[in-house]
Amino acid sequence: MKYAYYPGCSLDSTGIEYQLSTKAVAGTLGVELWEIPEWNCCGASAAHNTDRLLSLALPARNLALAEKEGLDVAVPCAACYSRMKATEKAVRGSEDVREKISEIIEMEYGASNRTLALLDVFTNQAGLEQVASLATKPLQGLKTACYYGCLMVKPPRLAEFDDPEDPQTMDRLMDALGAEAVSWPYKTECCGAGFASSRTDIVLQMSYEVLRLAKTAGAEAVVTACPLCMLNLDMRQKEIEAKNGVAIDLPILYFTELMALAFGHKPAAIGFNKHFVDTTPVVRKVEQGRRAKEVQP
């Protein structure tokens, strides 16, 4: 399996652990990721509020480069995913848009390839049976709250991925990795990322709700597929705790990190040490669970 890989801007910076774990998982799964050469920003969060054509042209250039290679595009970031899907749909739906975009990016782009969420690639495309069989160090007993956030599944007409209200892809992935996915109501609620810099008060409130409900549901870690969600839930957790006078202590992890962990990669090599909230309880819990299981037979 070979995909064009669009890391987007966070995977080299704030989301470095997402990048590290993604590459580790891809290696184990035998998925070849061809990083789009000289990829550019997808324009998320800013472009579509400024200029529609610009918001389509930015992702289109990346997609067109992949199309030339005849490859579908795997996108780790939910925001990038949403913008790319929007572009793909707009181009497929209108000859006029196709022509304009092709002219702007000075490349033919016909949207003949598909944009896929990395989560989709590593689960549905790779096959959960394979994932389960490669999980040599299962995450025995770990209770996780799968947090999809908003952009991966919404709006459904754009995202075309899983159920917008109660998605299951990550839940099933956790199951395949040996962990438990708790049932909780905030799977697809927004973390507030759209106001990340302008109205942090709103972000703090929204992210707090997410963390609170995950905690209430009994989760020991929140699993996400979005670098923006990660930013708000992980980096701002201390601030949230302080503002609300509570202790949360909920590690936030990318699904790829848990996959890599279950595949036997060393936690440090896949970025477990790059988080604001301490992730060692997760590693410890998993090891405990495994040992308990080994003793039991």
Binding site: D163, P164, E165, D166, P185, Y186, E189, L213, T216
Partner: protein
């Protein structure tokens, strides 16, 4: 040689003031085939009509053309005059030189020329007419009503009262439909069962009504006046002729945990059961899928305890065939399956999110909680209750684009009941608009608001369970802020959709449904009770969401329509309908799909060809159904179809006459 008589009317000065009628008549005399031509002051008057009669006698005319006013008004008059003169009334053509000439032109010369053209065209047309006869079809004086809810019962009773026999077919084991499930009816708040069950009893007892419950219509053949209907009486396993309805079997049946659809899933029943105590017929049937005797050949308790020996485990489905003259469709509605669409409300995983119909059972004294509003999860009385309107209605993404019409009122009723029955209750209604068009409806809604019900204009975006509370998040669009309610019970006003299987039955009977699956009325304004299939009428929610008074009114209306059909022994059909030239017809069947009345079918004929007898299929017009639109004729490539009175030859003759 054909001999046409032309009569040009002055209409006093209405025509003559602008058109030189004398000249028109003189010119007409020179047209091919015209043997006599005259102008007259008032052709529609008695002397005018006598003129036709006299001219026919004196000049041996065999065809008549009248040039006067619009045929939409006086064509029948002059047809009759033609007939009175001894000529077949269809050897007649009329042209309009008043509305289409004298009243819209002032130039006498040009108007007269136009009138001459029009008369020439009419003469050309009439030369190609042939005598036509009306035919008549017999009427079976019996009606079929499909569906025994309030609409069906009302229709059956009214037809029966009119003196005609009615067969009422109901799919469920009892008639009554949804109305007996309801607690109170808006806006009067009278007890639903109290007004519905007497209606069920009268239906049952009416000497002209035969009821088949637990039955379905399987096949309908024929056409208006002459339908042949096959009804499948599903096996009941209880001989209702012997059964006294004592109910002993029900108390002894060991399988007691079957969800009762009459309770909307809020209560249980046994395998041998009556849906509810006042069911009609008031005798039980066995639910074969859940009966231990029928599924595993164990038990058999009901047969043992039955004092009359009415239990028949070997009962079979039975097919009954009847002839009827008219059909009333009253198949009602179901509720929109919200659990499949509304993930934000939990896809049905929270037990305390219920539908309005379930709420009806909760407040109903004969319901599973004896009328106490207790929430399903823990049986506690809810204090904070949220009602959400338009769940599935007015939502073309997840549900239906249309408004379900009744929800505003029943939600108001429910809210009122909740406030009324629960002390210290806090009742919130989320709404998009409040629509209360109906007698006494707005007043009722205002009263509910005054009762203290809190109306919030906005949609609910999410419901989730936290502890024993349902967290309801929404928006108050009037205040422009987010709202969160910690509720004990949420009631959804779900949309009305056509009842399950209604599309199939429409197909069996042979008429169309609209884009939402409701039955398509023949005209949205003027023929709301008719279908395009003659003799098939609509009553109640099968045609679109409706409340009880509208449903009852439609039931009576459909009954009047059906009774009109049944009031005669036979029905005359207009001869101006399509005809088929068998020799030319290739049987391609394009016309069959074009006919809105299903008046065309392919039938087998035998013919001699090349010294052999061959059988082949050709189009065949049902004169009882064809309305003479001619759409099939224009679609027929070979010209095998033609429309009597507007034949290809006639129209082309008119076209030719215009220019020659």
């Amino acid at each position: 040689m054909k001999r046409v008589g032309v009569f040009v009317c002055h209409c006093g000065s209405n025509i003559a003031a602008v058109v030189d009628c004398e000249r028109v008549a003189k010119e007409a005399a020179k047209f091919p085939g015209v043997a006599f031509s005259i102008d007259n002051k008032y052709m529609c008057s008695d002397p005018g009509q006598d003129l036709i009669k006299k001219a026919v006698e004196e000049h041996h005319l065999d065809r008549i053309v009248v040039a006067s006013c619009t045929p939409r008004m006086h064509e029948p008059v002059f047809r009759r005059a033609t007939e009175n003169a001894g000529i077949n009334p269809y050897l007649f053509a009329m042209t309009n030189i008043r509305e289409h000439v004298s009243w819209i032109h002032t130039d006498r010369e040009k108007a007269t020329e136009k009138a001459i053209d029009l008369v020439r065209m009419a003469v050309a047309k009439v030369l190609h007419t042939v005598p036509l006869e009306k035919s008549s079809i017999p009427i079976t004086k019996r009606a079929l009503v499909i569906g025994g809810g309030i609409a069906g019962m009302q229709a059956a009773l009214d037809i029966a009262d009119n003196g005609n026999p009615v067969v009422l077919v109901e799919r469920e084991p009892t008639i009554g439909g949804k109305m007996p499930m309801l607690d109170k009816t808006f806006p009067s708040l009278d007890c639903s069962a109290c007004i519905c069950t007497p209606k069920m009893a009268s239906t049952d007892q009416h000497p002209n009504i035969t009821i088949y419950t637990h039955s379905e219509v399987e096949r309908v053949d024929g056409y208006i006046g002459n339908f042949q209907v096959t009804i499948r009486q599903k096996a009941k396993y209880v001989d209702h002729k012997i059964c006294t309805g004592c109910g002993l079997c029900e108390t002894k049946c060991p399988n007691k945990k079957i969800p009762n659809s009459f309770e909307a899933g809020m209560g249980n029943r046994t395998a041998i059961y009556k849906a509810f105590p006042q069911a009609v017929p008031n005798k039980p049937i066995i639910d074969a899928a859940n009966c231990r005797k029928l599924t595993k050949d164990k038990c058999g308790v009901c047969a043992k305890v039955c004092p009359t020996g009415a239990i028949k485990y070997d009962d079979q489905d039975e097919l009954i065939t009847i002839d009827v003259g008219a059909i009333v469709m009253a198949t009602g509605y179901d509720l929109f399956p919200w659990k499949e669409a509304y993930g934000e409300y939990g896809y049905g995983k929270y037990p305390d999110v219920i539908t309005g119909l379930q709420f009806e059972r909760l407040v109903n004294a004969s319901g599973p909680t004896s009328g106490h509003i207790l929430r399903p999860s823990d049986g506690k009385e809810p204090k904070t209750i949220v009602f959400i309107k338009c769940v599935g209605s007015r939502d073309d993404v997840k549900g239906k684009a249309y408004c379900s019409r009744t929800c505003c009122m029943y939600t108001a009723k429910h809210a009122h009941q909740a406030v009324d029955k629960i002390e210290d209750s806090h009742v919130i209604v989320f709404y998009m608009d409040v629509r209360t068009a109906g007698k006494g409806y707005e007043e009722f809604y205002q009263r509910t608001v005054e009762d203290g019900v809190h109306y919030v204009r906005g949609r609910v975006s999410k419901i989730y369970q936290l502890g024993d509370k349902l967290i309801v998040r929404g928006e108050d669009t009037l205040l422009g802020e987010a709202v969160q309610v910690n509720a004990d019970l949420v009631v959804l006003a779900t949309a009305m959709v056509p009842s399950a299987g209604s599309g199939e039955i429409a197909h069996i009977v042979g008429f169309s449904t609209d884009k939402d699956g409701f039955y398509q009325e023949a005209h949205p304004k003027l023929r709301p009770l008719e279908t395009f299939t003659a003799g098939v009428f609509l009553a109640g929610a099968c045609q679109g969401p409706k409340d009880i008074p509208d449903t009852a009114a439609q039931g009576s209306g459909a009954a009047a329509k059906a009774s009109a059909v049944l009031s005669n022994r036979s029905m005359e059909t207009d001869p101006l309908i399509s005809q088929v030239n068998d020799a030319v017809c290739a049987g391609c069947g394009v016309c069959v799909g074009i006919c809105p009345y299903r008046a065309i079918e392919l039938k087998e004929i035998t013919q001699r060809a090349g010294g052999k007898t061959i059988a082949r299929r050709v189009a065949s017009i049902n004169s009882g159904l064809c309305q003479g639109c001619g759409a099939c004729v224009a679609a027929c490539r070979s010209g095998a179809l033609d429309l009597k009175g507007f034949t290809n030859q006639q129209i082309m003759a008119e076209v030719d006459a215009l220019c020659l």
